[in-house]
Amino acid sequence: MRALDPRLVRRARPVRLLLGVDAALGLATAILVLVQATLLASIVARAFDGAALGELVGDLVALALVFAARGILGWGFEVAGARAASSVLSELRLELVARRLRGQPLALDGIEAAEIATAGVQGVDGLEAYFGRYLPQLVLACLVPLAVLGWVGAIDLTSALVMMLTLPLVPVFMWLIGRYTEERTLARWQALRLLSGHFLDVVRGLPTLQAFNRSRAQAGVLADVGERYRRATMGTLRVGFLSGSVLELAATLGVALVAVTVGVRLAGGSLAFQAGLTVLILAPELYLPLRQLAAQFHSSADGLAVAERMLELLEAPPAVRPGGRLVPPSPREAPVRLEAVSFAYPSRPGLVFDGLELELLPGETVALVGPSGAGKSTVAGLLLRFVEPSSGRVTAGGVDLADCRAELWRRQIAWVPQRPTVFRGTVAENIRLGDERASDRAVRDAAVLAGADRFVRSLPAGYETVVGDGGRPLSAGERRRIALARAFVREAPLVILDEPTADLDRTSADVVAEAVERLCAGRTVLLIAHRPELVARADRVVTLAGETAVREEAA
């Protein structure tokens, strides 16, 4: 793990600000460490020489205040870290959402969307630990040992040399042992993931195991696997914990060495008591920040992982270029064509199709059929400019759509996807997605045409019923009909319907099929379907059969 991702520093202004604040707080902390040790040593030394309590009260109060001030600086580190974490994450997630929605609106499914939302919102907890605890510790690990060494050197050069002797041991040993254990630790994490995965698999399949009377036998298997894993893990930990122990050893031996050498020289009279005591008190402070850094290492890895995941997502190239400035022709008069279009998904090998030709003449209904995976929905994505053709072009009246303003082009299209989204809001608001300014009357009419009016009116609050996340659940057929109502209210010349009756039972499918027929009248329609009775209503049928094979027939 890198200590700090340079992309993060470059990209996020709050990170740079935080680094400045942390540096200042770290410097102040380092000074207070020195002040605290000096003060403590001076109080003890003066008491040693017989000072009365009255003479020391001022110093004792000052000592308590120095502790308190260190507490306030520690609090400052955490507050600054938490504030930076929430600002950084806000910056990243807003940029990510904007890029995703503008650049590749089609590329997300529900799972990935939930993952981004979780990382982008809940991820702040991990990032707070990273910014609020790890980063300050990193600053302190750089500043405090230097300050301590410098101060000790000024008081007693011999002790400073003893300390310097033990200090370089720390990183060298950690590096050596770290390298040795890295591979093993990796294997252990993999084992843990496998073990959890295995448990999840068994638990998920429990009903199936029960159906075949195999569930009891699995209990023993689980216990065996767990025990095997424990033994293997303890084996790696025996080595893995050595690096931490070397650090501890260096720290305690360093303190012991300083104590003994200081003691011997005090006894010989070559060192003053207060100086010796100050050095002894400072000795553990030399190693403490390093030890705490090691302790924070793992808990903060989560935080950095969140940020890096967001950065990775941000660096993904958009699926579609921002369009040109031309005003696109209307599909009402202009034919829409796919001209020698090839398409490949960046994440998958091979072409979805190659050299595809397709023409939609004004007013005609073209059915697009083919096996799943042949790229039917991709054609819809190309027409909507959600994705860019790998080669070839998509035109309207001979004008390349890539040269046109995407939002003006999309305004002429009503699209009913295979799995329509119902947004949180009322039914009326959901239908108005098709046309923001539609009157209540227009919304109602569209619902009637979509075959949705009857079920909507049976809802508790009719058109004002809240649906979507947290609202009233809708069946697949009901969602489809609301999406069709959106298309009706839009009054767009080009309609794209993606499998409008898939996964519906017979009755719902019939209602939707009738609505589709009404929607097709007088519009240019691309109908993606495999149900024969829907296809039969098309003027033409185009079959996509993987790669180049395109068959056309009159219906």
């Binding site: 122990s245 012991a256 011997v264 069946s475």
Partner: protein
């Protein structure tokens, strides 16, 4: 320790001596640190009086001993505590599984089965922190704190009182105060986080439609506003975070100053040798190491207990189906199976999933059960395999109530190939073998052949040793269903229940699959549950389920 914590400690049970060992080693680690500073402080003070070097020998040996012993104790403590953690998660996994395994599949399915089971796995994993980070640190703090107080008490009893009070406040009050502040901060942020998450998920998942309907910029603005609100709340909440660390140092400072003041006045009054002043001061500083992990421990304990309580809620459920006291043997040879006017409800007060349904399956006959989605077809399968019992009416096998047989016998007599049947992340062969673990390779091959999979399997580079991936992800929908059918065929039960074997398949694939299955079943009785037309021409009887009862557990 609350009742829930006690029950969890039982669920994640570890032999007591191992816990005691880990706690002892933890306490020794802290105490050796205290000892190191105590002997070092004494050594330096004594040395300042410039005695013969020989009289310092004991103190020098002490310093060296503690310097070496502490890292060793720390190393052993980490091994012992991680061993406890691994054992506890292993035990918890096995015990939770044993409890879940007794429940009926219908109790595990539920509407949000995916969530439920994924949570079980995550919750069991988080139990490894119950001892390691939750219960051990307070025990260690108590023992080590008492040890340090004991050392001070032997020297200056009134200073021990101050140290004890300081440790109690620092270890008892401060963590709770920090936890209360953190809870307040989380409560402040929760609604804003929830709103933003929901908004992000919705707009990312529905991004294509927002783009198609020209609502991108509007949506981005709305999200930006919600985001700004969260950042504002979070920045305010940040002030509360990290207050714990500040408070701890405040208490530590006051305690050290207090102990020193008492030491100074005791020395002035002649009740304390001056060489012990430094020792008292350094022991007080070092003793606070014992309470440092406690705020974190409280957090971890609460998280582990919350996870554990979810588990206990699940494992406390009583099985809804169980073996009778005096079970009947399965009838010899072939037998009829029937639903007789059954009513089924998954939870009291819910709408019945099935009501007044009768169905008869004679030996060797093929019956189709059809109905629209949500009409309770899967519930019929659940009744036949006795995943659930009817509220009214009865299910009979050979004329006798299903409840009179052992569960294992019922499930041996009826094989289920369901739409939810699980494919385990192992090889093709092991997935099929689950149907009958003692089957020979030849019989497995035969089952694959009859499900029309053998040619495909033979064409794979690894043959039937090919891994199917998590939930069969490496296979196509049709291959998955065929594998499930092959498994049910291998079980060699006289009755085969096929629950929506063609769901999610396109029409042509579905037709081929159904044909192949009917060719393969031989003279078994078959119940085909479906909402699609494929296969209906090949059954003897069609039973239609009317109505939309609609509370069958479906994903």
């Amino acid at each position: 320790m609350t009742a829930a914590t006690r029950r969890l400690a039982l669920l994640a049970g570890v032999p007591r001596p191992r816990i005691a060992l880990a706690a002892l080693l933890g306490a020794l680690t802290v105490l050796f640190g205290v000892g190191l500073m105590a002997t070092a402080g004494f050594l330096i003070s004594r040395a300042a009086e410039q005695p013969s070097v020989l009289s310092l020998a004991v103190a020098i040996v002490g310093v060296r001993f503690f310097g070496l012993a502490r890292p060793i104790a720390r190393y052993l403590e980490r091994l012992a505590s991680h061993d406890v953690a691994l054992r506890s998660v292993g035990t918890a996994r096995a015990r939770v599984y044993e409890r879940l395994e007794r429940l009926s599949p219908a109790q595990l399915q539920g509407r949000r089965r995916g969530d439920l089971l994924a949570n079980v796995v995550a919750d069991v994993d988080s139990l490894q922190n119950l001892h390691l980070r939750g219960l051990l640190p307070p025990v260690v703090a108590l023992v080590a704190g008492a040890g340090a107080v004991g050392v001070v008490a032997a020297i200056l009893p009134q200073a021990a009182l101050v140290l004890a009070a300081g440790l109690l406040i620092g270890g008892g009050v401060v963590p709770y105060a920090a936890a209360a502040l953190a809870r307040r901060s989380a409560a402040m942020q929760a609604p804003a986080r929830g709103a933003l998450s929901a908004g992000l998920v919705e707009s990312l998942a529905g991004g294509a439609e927002l783009a198609a309907y020209g609502r991108l910029e509007q949506t981005l603005e709305t999200i930006g506003a919600v985001d700004r609100r969260l950042v504002r709340v979070a920045r305010r909440a940040a002030l509360a975070d990290g207050a714990g660390e500040g408070l701890r140092l405040l208490v530590a400072g006051a305690t050290v100053a207090g102990v020193l003041a008492l030491a100074v006045s005791a020395h002035a009054a002649g009740g304390l040798d001056r060489v012990l002043i430094a020792l008292l001061a350094l022991v007080s500083v070092a003793a606070f190491e014992a309470v440092q992990p406690l705020p974190e421990a409280l957090r971890e304990l609460r998280a582990a207990v919350a996870a554990g309580e979810r588990l206990l809620e699940l494992t406390d459920r009583e099985p809804t189906v169980a073996d009778p006291a005096d079970p009947l043997p399965l009838p010899q040879g072939r037998f009829p199976l029937a639903l007789e006017d059954v009513r089924l409800r998954y939870a009291p007060g819910e709408r019945p999933a099935l009501d007044g349904v009768s169905l008869r399956l004679e030996p060797g006959r093929r019956v189709a059960l059809v109905g629209r989605s949500g009409s309770g077809k899967t519930s019929a399968a659940n009744l036949l395999l006795r995943f659930v019992d009817p509220e009214k009416g009865r299910v009979t096998l050979g004329g006798r109530d299903l409840r009179e047989y052992r569960l294992e016998d019922v499930r041996r007599a009826i094989a289920l190939a369901g739409q939810d049947s699980h494919l385990f992340a192992t090889t093709i062969r092991e997935n099929v073998r689950l149907g009958r673990p003692d089957a020979t390779d030849g019989e497995i091959e035969d089952a694959l052949r009859r499900a029309r999979l053998l040619d495909w399997v033979r064409g794979l580079p690894d043959g039937w040793s090919t891994l199917v991936g998590e939930e069969g992800r490496e296979l196509s929908g049709g291959q998955r269903q065929r594998l499930v059918v092959a498994r049910a065929l291998l079980a060699n039960a006289p009755v085969l229940v096929l629950d929506e074997p063609t769901a999610h398949l396109d029409a042509a694939t579905a037709e081929r699959l159904i044909d192949d299955v009917f060719d393969a079943v031989g003279d078994r009785a078959v119940l085909l549950i479906t909402h699609r037309p494929e296969g209906l021409e090949r059954v003897d009887d069609v039973v239609a389920l009317a109505g939309e009862a609609g509370s069958a557990p479906r994903d």
